[in-house]
Every structure is written in C-alpha cells, then in structure tokens.
C-alpha cells in the first residue's frame, strides 16, 4: 500500500491549479451556464495543455497515462469550478467505447479530434422511459444488405445535439434472448439521415453542455461502425459504466472539495455574535464531518481508479466509489450552503451550483439503487479478502 501521489501526479495537479487560476473566471462560468453556451476557447486551451484525454495513447495526442491521472484532472478542475470542471471533462462522453473497444480505424478517425476538443461525443444508451434496465431494449438495429438499420428513441443524452458522434446501444437479438446476448453498439455520426435531436431543456446543472432526446428513424450505418462484436454490447456497456462511475466519483470528490474550500473560507471570515462562525462548535463539527466525508470518498475513488489501471476493477468497487463520492459531495455541498446562510442560496456565492453539480453526479449513470444493485450483485457471490 502507498498513499501519496507520485511526483508527476503532483505536477499535473499543480499545473491544473495554475491553469484554473489563470483561466477560470466565476462570472464567465455563470454566464456560460445561464446562456447555455459552451466555453470552447477554454476547452481548446485545456486540450493544448494536454489535460483532456490525458489517458489517451500518445498517437491520439493523449499522454498515454492512466485513468488515475484522468481522474486527478477531473477532480482538480471540478474543485476549482464544479460547472466548468464538469463541462471540460464531459465532452468526450461515450468516447471510452472507442478508446477501449473501437477498431484501429475508429480510433484514428475520432480520438485525436476528441483530444483536441474539436469533436464532442455522446453515449446514447438509455431508452425512453427505461432507465438502466437494458432487458429487451426497444431501440433496435437490424441487418439489411450489409448495413445496419437503427430505430428507436434515447432520452436525455448528454451532448445530444452538439456531439459529432453518438455511441448507440441497440438490440440486435430477439426480445427473448438475454441482454448478455442481444445487445450491440454502433457509432452514428450526427449527419446520419433519420437521426433527430430534440433539446431536453434546462437541467439541474451542466447546462453549458447540451442534452437531447434522440430519435432514430431508419438510420443506416455500415458494419464498420459497429463497436465490438454483435451481441457483445452488454459486456462493453458494463465496462463503460464502470469507467464512467470511477470518473464521476473523481468529479464528485472535486466538487466536494470545492464546496468545502469555499465553506471553510467563509466560516473563517464571517463574523456573527462577535466571533467568526468557524469558532462555534456546531460549525466546526460540520466542517470536520465534511472533511472526513471527502477524505474517505477520495480514498475510495482513488482506489477504484488504481484498480482500473491495474486491470482489476470490480464493478462493485466502481459503484461503491461513485455512490460514496456522489453522496458525499451532495452532503458536503448541502452543508456548504447552510453554512453560508442566506448567501448560500444566492448564485453569486457559488456553493449553490456546487450542490446542483453534486446532485448531478448522484443522478447521472444511475442513482443510488442502481449502484446498490450493482454492488449487491458483485458482493453477494464473492468471498472478500
């Protein structure tokens, strides 16, 4: 066991802190979110500095580092500004499918553009109204003279409308076949005929990113757009979700840290009843519990990332990290608002958007009971060491 960052990791952290100090601006972030406009210039800079896709292979402009480093980037960016941090680290949503399971051709075609910030991607997995239940999926892909024809609806797809490519989960087998066999993944480009995106409106957070409901009406894609084998979709989906959950846990830890930083600073400054409110035991204990929740959520998140990089990530651990970090972030940001009193509810004091962004991490990629189902499935039949 070892519980410190390596020197290079500390340098990455430092570099990002400096980047944020120089480039992040509170008002700018609030404006982007208000007006639902994406900070493209900021993304370009982050890409130029190699922060985005740091875990991509060098040939695709990545740094060839691990998910651990990617998580470190996400945590640090979100800590400095939860909304900008999420916006910068969620543009490549779904690209993990290409990175981990795509063909060489698919990688060549997309990964570099993604790492450059020129291309957004989206994961179109959840069928309208079905959430994380992928049994007898309604969205189907049928083979017709060498092509695949996709029909169906996907809800609330992050980056829907702005993404250049969509990774779409389709049922290629019969309804009666088990999901382990009847699902397949396809890459669909935004220009594809028959694909329509309808804006899903504003959401709890991440409004500088788009979200849309997608309709696939006889959308044709060549077999070369297939990711993984026919019927292998469920396995790849779960590997993808594991990775997303680890990254989400890091984003949540960053959000919690950012809310905590602001609450701590406020408690030191704010004077009521003749002393700074941090001097009141009840306040001090709130800060103590916030710090403690962050400490263990972070330890678990880092453990999960390390396990991923060492090829030993268990889905249960990913779900534990995600649930623990997201719950922690929500609890910490909640108290950060409370400690700010009336100001906490005001946009300009930031903690309210940390709270909304924290809740986003709790709801995204499956809320509590989805995670508990995953954890239960993985622990129930396992002997733990």
């Amino acid at each position: 066991m070892e519980f410190t960052l390596t020197k290079p990791q500390k340098e990455i952290q430092k570099a990002i802190f400096e980047f944020c100090k120089g480039e992040f601006d509170k008002e700018f972030g609030l404006d982007c979110e208000r007006n639902r406009t994406y900070p493209n210039k900021l993304l370009e800079k982050a890409c130029d500095l190699g922060f985005i896709g740091i875990h991509y292979p060098e040939e695709y402009l990545g740094a060839g580092l691990g998910l651990f480093e990617h998580c470190l980037v996400a945590e640090t960016l979100c800590r400095r500004d939860s909304t900008l941090g999420l916006a910068l680290t969620l543009t490549a949503s779904g690209a993990e499918f290409i990175l981990r399971s795509g063909t060489g051709d698919q990688k060549d075609r997309y990964l570099q553009q993604i790492a450059e910030g020129r291309l957004f991607s989206a994961a179109a997995l959840v069928d309208e109204g079905l959430g994380y239940d992928f049994r007898c999926l309604k969205t189907t892909a049928a083979q017709e003279n060498g092509q695949w024809v996709i029909d169906g609806k996907k809800s609330l797809v992050l980056n829907g409308g702005t993404a250049g490519i969509y990774v779409v989960l389709c049922r290629t087998g019969t309804e009666t076949e088990p999901q382990e066999k009847n699902l397949t993944l396809f890459l669909v480009e935004k220009e594809a005929k028959g694909l329509t995106c309808e804006d899903a409106g504003t959401r709890i957070s991440c409004n500088m990113l788009t979200a849309a409901d997608l309709t696939f009406n006889q959308v044709c894609v060549p077999d070369t757009s297939r990711i993984g084998d026919v019927g292998d979709g469920y396995r790849l989906l779960n590997r993808f979700l594991d990775e997303c959950r680890v990254v989400l846990s890091a984003q949540a830890v960053g959000i919690a840290l950012g809310a905590y930083d602001r609450a701590l600073a406020y408690c030191r400054e704010r004077v009521q009843f003749g002393k700074s409110i941090g001097q009141f035991q009840i306040t001090a204990h709130k800060l103590a519990d916030m710090a403690r929740q962050i400490e263990y959520a972070r330890a678990l998140s880092q453990k999960a990332a390390w396990h991923f990089d060492n090829g030993m990530l268990d889905p249960g651990l990913a779900a534990m990290a995600k649930l623990t970090a997201a719950q922690g972030a929500v609890a910490v940001a909640y108290e950060a608002i409370q400690l700010h009193g009336g100001y906490g509810f005001m946009t300009e004091y930031e903690v309210e958007h940390f709270y909304r962004d924290a809740k986003f991490t709790e709801l995204f990629c499956g809320a509590g009971n989805v995670q508990r189902d995953v954890i239960a499935a993985s622990v129930y039949n396992k002997k733990r060491s």
Binding site: G131, Y132, G341, E348, E352, R356, G366
Partner: protein
C-alpha cells in the same frame, strides 16, 4: 380523531381557491419563473377573490377569518409548485405587524389595500452583516420631530421588487443595547431615499422577486412607526410563533406534494418487463418511509396549528417544527430525485423545481441552527 376541524365554509373556500389556482396561477407559473417575478395583477386577483389577509378584521376591510383559512391558502398554493405568489408571507407574517402594532390611522390607511391586493408588503430585517445575528443590525432610524430618517441597507427581501409597503427594522444609534434599540417602521414605495437594489439570482424561488433595499436619508412620518419606540425586538418575538408555524406548515405541504408526485410517478413508470417501479422492494420501502414521515409530520403540524389557534404559547414547539419540517423537505426532495433517477435532473420532470426551491427553507425565517439555539435555551440546557 381529527385534530383540526374544517367546516363546510372552509371546504368551500378551499375549492374556490383550488379552482382559482388551476385557472389563474398554474398556467402562468412557468412564465413567472422565467420572468423572476409575479405580475402585480396576480396579487390583485388573489385579493379580489378574498384569498389574501383572511385574518384581517372586518373593521379594516378583511373577512376576519380564523387561522385555518391561512393554512388552506398555504396548502393550495403549495400545490401550484411555485413560490412567487408569496401570500402567506404577506398575509400571515407581514400584515399582522401592521394590524397588531399600527396606529388606528395606519391600519385604516393600509390594511384595506393589503386585503384587496392593491398593496403588496415585505419585511426588511436581514442585512448583509446581520443575518442570524439581528443585533448586529446597522440600519439606523433617527426620529426628529414628526419625522424619522432611515439609513442603511437590507437584503434577501422577499417581494422586494413588488412591495408597495415595507416593514423596516432600524436601530437607534444613540442606544447601547441593540435589543432595546430596534423600532419597526413602515416605508412606502416611492418615498424619497428608498431604493431597490438588484433582484438577486438564486438557486430556486425563481418566480419570487428577492431583492436588496437601500435607505439613504429616507424620511418618513413618525406615525409610520409600528408600536412603541425601541420595542422592535419584543414585537418580533411576539410574532415569531406564527411566522415559524407558517414555515412548518408550508414545509409540511411541500413534503406531501412531493410524496404524492413521486409515488404517482413510480407507480406509473414500468421496467422493461412491465413491472411498476414502485414494486421494486427498495423503491417500495422508500415510498413507505416517505409516506410515514409525511404522516407523522402532518400530525405534529396539525397539533401546533390547533394550539396556536387556542392562543397557547407553543413558541418552542414551533421552533422545533420549523427546523424538523424544513429539514424533512430536504431529505424527502433529495430522495424523490434519487428514486426517479436521471430523468429527475431535467427541469421538465417538475420534481426538480421543488428540490431547488425548498433548499432555502432550512435557512430563511431564522436558520435551523438558530431554531436549535432557541429551543436549547427554552429547555434550559
């Protein structure tokens, strides 16, 4: 046994109000949320229909009805899923200061307008540096002759933009002990030196016009003082019970609406095999727990309403309820989002707005930490 006794008259009033909400409020809520304010006209209509200041006595143009009417208004407004048309604040928190402490002339002049909705009121206590610690107030009210000059600024003022009449707490700078130096003054819209700051951007309460107020050499007639000079704190204390009770009442109704909505959603939504989500045991138990908390909260709230109506001193219990019920809104609204999942993250889900709006309940009208301090003192711990 029924703790509260609603008469046919109460029920008739409730149905009339419910119809009004369906016709004249709910269809416009999204627009009001967009505009960050409720049009004055909506207040006027509430007044015309007799839904404002139901407790104000006939002598001043009110119907002089019992507190249950206020409870009904709070409940029906809660069901409109917005907070902008803050009738309970106007009718049950601000106006009572005028009716209890205003001179006969003041009451005759202003109360009829409060009842009719021509006058929207606000109360200005909190200051940038005086939140929980009201004694840190720096807004001054200096009386000379038949005038008072008010200087200072207030913040987080609900109805700050719409308000035609504001109850302002100000301190006499010549006195040592702030607790014996606060007076309450009525400041009318348009009084020279009374200006409104920017409308504050918030996490929720979007349809409500929360604003800063500035008083710069603002001179008002001394007759606009409510009650005795320097007795402001005493008057505030006297009104705390109803103010906190109303918060608990609003919180309780918000909780019930969320439980109702999330239950309906999860009974309707089905998994891929057509099984209602509410039949998943974890979801099922969560809904049971939420329903139980709502029922227990309802019982306690009703008992306090009954005791308040009997004129009993339940200040301590209302402080308990203010913190317990508003905390409950947080656990319930968070749990509702969790049970629905990703779709709840979209504003279109309608379940998101209460989550955003309710976050301020544990903070306003005295933070829940202040409530606990007060209860601790009353329990002589």
């Amino acid at each position: 046994m029924e703790i509260l006794h609603y008469t046919d008259a109460h029920e008739e009033f409730r149905l009339r109000l419910r119809g009004f909400c369906e016709k004249e409020i709910i269809p416009f809520v999204d627009e009001w949320e967009e505009n960050h304010i409720v049009p004055k006209q909506a207040w006027k209509r509430m007044g015309e229909e007799g839904f404002l200041c139901t407790a104000v006595s006939e002598a001043y143009g009110g119907p002089g009805k019992d507190f249950l009417y206020s409870v009904i208004v709070a409940e029906e407004l809660a069901r409109t899923n917005h907070t902008g048309l803050a009738a309970p604040l106007h009718s049950d928190i601000v106006v009572p200061y005028i009716e209890s402490y205003g001179s006969e002339a003041i009451k005759k002049r202003y109360l009829p307008g409060c009842v009719s909705g021509d006058i929207v009121t606000a109360v200005a206590m909190t200051e940038p540096d005086a939140g929980s610690d009201l004694a840190a107030m720096t807004t001054t009210g200096v009386e000379d002759g038949d005038e008072v000059e008010i200087n200072g600024s207030k913040t987080f003022i609900t109805n700050g933009i719409n308000a035609d009449l504001v109850v302002v707490a100000a301190i006499d700078p010549t006195l040592e002990n702030p607790h014996q130096a606060v007076s309450l003054y009525l400041v009318k819209d348009g009084t020279p030196g009374f200006e409104r700051g920017r409308r504050l951007e918030k996490m929720g309460f979007h349809s409500q016009d929360t604003a800063e107020l500035f008083f710069n050499k603002c001179r008002i007639p001394v007759e606009n003082r409510l009650g005795e000079k320097n007795m402001g704190f005493v008057m505030l204390m006297e009104k705390l019970q109803q103010e906190r009770l109303i918060c608990a009442v609003m919180a309780q109704f918000a909780v019930e609406l969320i439980v109702e909505n999330v239950t309906a959603y999860l009974k309707t939504a089905k998994d891929a095999m057509g099984k209602p989500l509410s039949k998943y045991q974890a979801t099922n138990f969560a809904l049971v727990e939420m329903a139980t908390q709502a029922r227990i909260g309802r019982t306690f709230m009703e008992k306090l309403v009954a005791e308040h109506m009997e004129g009993r001193d339940v200040v301590m219990e209302t402080c308990m309820a203010k913190y317990w019920h508003t905390d409950l809104t947080q656990t319930i609204s968070n749990r509702a989002l969790d049970l629905i999942g990703e779709e709840a993250a979209a504003e279109r889900s309608q379940i998101l707005r209460p989550w955003r709006d309710l976050r301020v309940l544990p903070i306003f009208a005295g933070t829940n930490e202040i409530m606990k301090m007060v209860v601790g003192r009353m329990l002589q711990l």
